[in-house]
């Protein structure tokens, strides 16, 4: 190829790759509905990674495909290629550029994680890493309050217990026990998660939140649901033969609906109030 066309070809390829990558980043539709305040944060982050990934994918696969076609051995040609052993500038380039990308992603990760409330679990309870070896009553690990809610108590606390093969939800303020999580939309909810038999993992795909339920280690998830509806609650950690069937739902209500649900269940459960489930506070 001559000098000038090569430059133009590279430029056009560059623009095309950028456009395609940006488009794929925004329009991949790979993630399910967003139903928590954290979900858009995670999704934007994912979409940025998809865009960068698509660009890298196209560049590398394009180079492979181009080589395979252009530099294939022709019939009867038994000679070798040019003995090029490397190029220091190129090698520096493809160390530095990915280096910058991953450092950028690293900073972005910390930022997103902080926005999600991930940094709260430690800062507000003065927890140190020794509490990794903690007793059941130690400060929990997981996702805490978002920076906006910092210092405020959650508006609803639910104790969640994982057991083979069900989730149990206990509403300590109203003495309600259920097998299905009900929360009001737009409210700051704290789940205290525990397990007594084996490890489980509490996951709501539409919330983009997951936290293991660990025997001997209190964990938590704090979130604000942003959309009414019913979403699956899934166990994500192998917990035995019927792990796959350890599923239930979270129902996100409007505040009025939620109050009605709570009132009904409080009455329904009055007679068996002492039958509360053993949970780790």
């Amino acid at each position: 190829m001559k000098q000038i066309p090569l430059g133009i070809v590279t430029l056009i390829a560059g623009i095309l790759i950028t456009l395609i990558s940006l488009w794929v980043g925004q329009n991949n539709h790979l993630l399910p509905e967003q139903a928590s305040a954290q979900a858009p944060l995670v999704d934007n982050f994912f979409n940025v990674m998809v865009a960068i990934g698509t660009a890298l994918f196209l560049v590398v696969q394009g180079a492979i495909l181009f080589s395979v076609i252009k530099f294939r051995r022709r019939r009867g040609d038994n000679t070798d290629g040019e003995p090029i052993e490397g190029s220091f500038p190129l090698e520096i380039l493809w160390t530095i550029i990915p280096g910058i990308i991953v450092i950028g992603l690293g900073i972005y990760s910390v930022d997103v994680y902080t926005e999600m409330g991930g940094m709260d679990a430690i800062s507000h309870h003065g927890m140190t890493h020794e509490s990794m070896m903690a007793q059941p009553n130690s400060n929990p690990i997981g996702i805490g309050s978002t920076p906006a809610n910092e210092g405020k108590p959650p508006s609803l606390v639910v104790n969640v217990t994982g057991m083979q093969y069900a989730w149990l939800f206990n509403y300590p303020d109203s003495n309600v026990n259920t097998g299905e999580l009900h929360v009001p939309v737009g409210q700051d909810v704290l789940l205290n998660i525990s397990a007594n038999d084996v490890i489980h993992s509490f996951w709501i795909p539409q919330f983009r939140l997951k936290q293991d339920a660990i025997p001997g280690q209190a964990t938590q998830l704090r979130f604000t649901a942003t959309k009414t509806g019913q979403y699956p609650v899934v166990c994500a950690e192998l917990c035995g033969g019927y792990h796959g069937s350890m599923r239930t739902s979270v129902v996100v209500h409007t505040p009025e609906e939620y109050d009605r649900w709570l009132a009904e269940n409080r009455i329904a459960q009055q007679p068996e109030m002492d039958r509360t489930v053993a949970v780790n506070p």
Partner: protein
């Protein structure tokens, strides 16, 4: 290569001794020849690959429909656990390190054998009993807690089978430590003096990095597993929370080994890539030093990323952030290798041999797996996809599209040297096409499954995922079928294939300077190194001389 010709004159060994060959039954004995041991590793590993593959078929048939209708859920978990365990510990690690490492390292550095041949044989013979333990565990229900064996689940399910599983892993771990020790000493001490460090084939650098990693990390796994064994059988409570034990501690011990273990499975394969690509692209490897050093960088950084498997576990925020950043950094040296191989293709005269097809296929697939890995390395996103099919998609791209493709590339490339016969190239291409299509069909859709909400290690799932799972199952059947052309090609060629020349690919590393298959002590006279391992484009005439000289 005139050196070879002159040295020929000084031959002291008699013809008779030299052209002696091992008989078939020698391969079933405690033999200390590194080449026999290499073949023993490869063939044994392949047998376990077939067994593990059958388990995978059963798993995928079960997952074809949302209900647990084909296997009992506990049996499903036993298949799932042993599939993973066999593929990692009995196929990829022994084939890549034990098989190719043992066969090739002494030949590549110009040694007559490994530094400690007896130890080498012992290391191999630890493997068959380990495999037998795993398979035998099915009489006791099979271990069912996944290849990660997290307590408390592993403490309370199928105790006998779980104990057998632990013993099996401790056996292969010991084998791996002995093997690693042997490689380090062989590479450091037994390289022919005429070979500069910068003339050592990249495969040897890769095996060196792998061995260091194995030596540093395997003992930690062994420690963790022995504690688990005590908890199950002798009433201790290291990992029993109700008795003061800590389950998260186990995860740290496990992943401190098992993250590096993923590099144990890919670094030797990277080494194979660095050998296969230059030979069939007819070009020097692009950036020898960068590729050699990046192996060492991966080895060092790879020791400090293990918590990325525990982002949703009992890990505090600072740990999640620290390991996000360290994990992202590992991608850089990995990228350096990828770019180096692509640049090696660029401007070459690519010969599309079966070996090269698998190498290029690997390159292309590994990019997908690596990019997926980077996304997983970030804690905020990993919270969503950890323990889902997204992870299953990722690690099969790197393990099937990476390691398995690399083993295939290596087999097609070195088959003539190992057996003295050529494989059939047409069937090689069929094998490649089926494997390539099957891999994408099986593992690409899994990413979407995970993103949409399907957890991993489940025998039954939400019916909304049935459609995509069906595609994965079809892909798996294609993959199952893809093994057949390879299997029959390898057996037929080994028995009846056309005789291979000493250097059928015109390659420049030392293993091609001896006969095919190599004589028992490798060379009559140790070769003298006069050029780099990848001096393609410069040494065409030299090549010719090698061939005539070594006859």
């Amino acid at each position: 290569m005139t050196q070879l010709e002159t040295s020929q004159i000084t031959t002291v060994v008699t013809e008779h001794e030299l052209h002696q060959r091992w008989k078939w039954y020698d391969y079933f004995t405690f033999n200390i020849d590194h080449k026999v041991i290499g073949i023993q590793y490869l063939v044994t590993a392949f047998v376990f690959y077939l067994i593990g593959g059958l388990m995978a078929m059963a798993i995928r048939i079960e997952l074809n429909t949302p209900d647990a209708d084909f296997l009992d859920p506990n049996l499903y978990n036993a298949f799932m656990t042993n599939h993973g365990t066999l593929m990692i510990f009995m196929w990829i690690v022994p084939a890549a390190i034990g098989g190719f490492g043992n066969f090739l390292v002494p030949l590549m550095v110009g040694a007559r054998d490994m530094a400690f041949p007896k130890l080498n044989a012992i290391a191999f013979w630890l493997n068959p009993p380990a495999g037998a333990l795993l398979l035998g565990s099915f009489f006791f229900g099979g271990s069912q807690s996944g290849w990660t064996a997290y307590p408390p689940l592993s403490l309370i399910t199928a105790n006998t089978a779980q104990t057998m599983w632990i013993l099996a892993i401790v056996l292969v771990g010991t084998s791996s430590i002995l093997g690693a020790l042997n490689f380090v000493v062989t590479i450091l001490k037994m390289k022919v003096p005429s070979m500069q460090w910068t003339q050592m084939p990249l495969f040897c650098w890769a095996i060196l990095a792998t061995s260091v990693l194995a030596l540093l990390s395997t003992p930690v796994l062994a420690a963790g597993l022995v504690l688990l064994l005590f908890d199950i059988n002798f009433g201790t409570s290291f990992f029993k929370p109700d008795a003061g034990g800590n389950v998260v501690l186990y995860q740290h011990l496990f992943w401190f080994y098992s993250h590096p273990a993923v590099y144990l499975m890919i670094l030797p394969i990277f080494g194979i890539m660095s050998e296969v690509i230059p030979v069939h692209a007819r070009k020097p490897i692009f950036g020898y030093k960068a590729i050699a050093y990046s192996s060492l960088a991966i080895c060092v950084i790879g020791l400090f990323v293990w918590v990325h498997h525990m982002f949703t576990s009992g890990t505090p925020p600072w740990m999640r952030m620290f390991f996000t950043i360290s994990t992202l950094i590992v991608a850089v040296p990995t990228g350096v290798k990828i770019f180096g191989w692509v640049a090696t293709l660029w401007g070459g005269k690519i010969r599309f041999t079966s070996a090269m097809l698998f190498a290029i296929g690997l390159l292309s697939m590994f990019v997908v797996g690596g990019l997926g890995g980077v996304t997983l390395g970030t804690a905020p996103f990993d919270l969503h996809v950890h323990d889902t099919y997204y992870v299953v998609g990722h690690f099969h791209y790197v393990l099937f599209g990476g390691s398995v493709f690399g083993i295939y590339a290596g087999i097609y490339h070195w088959f003539p040297k190992i057996t003295g016969r050529m494989m059939n190239e047409t069937w090689g291409r069929v094998h490649f096409a089926l494997t390539f299509v099957g891999t994408h069909l099986t593992f690409l859709p899994m990413h979407q499954l995970g993103l949409q909400g399907m957890p991993r290690r489940v025998a039954m799932y939400d019916p909304q995922f049935a459609g995509i799972n069906h595609i994965c199952t079809i892909g798996a059947i294609v993959l199952g079928i893809s093994v057949l052309p390879f299997f029959f090609n390898a057996i037929w060629s080994w028995l009846y294939g056309p005789k291979a020349a000493d250097n059928p690919w015109d390659a420049l590393t030392l293993e091609w300077t001896t006969s095919s298959p190599p004589a028992i002590e490798n060379w009559e006279v140790l070769p003298v190194v006069t050029h780099g391992p990848y001096d393609y484009g410069r040494t065409v005439e030299v090549n010719q001389t090698v061939q005539t000289a070594s006859i």
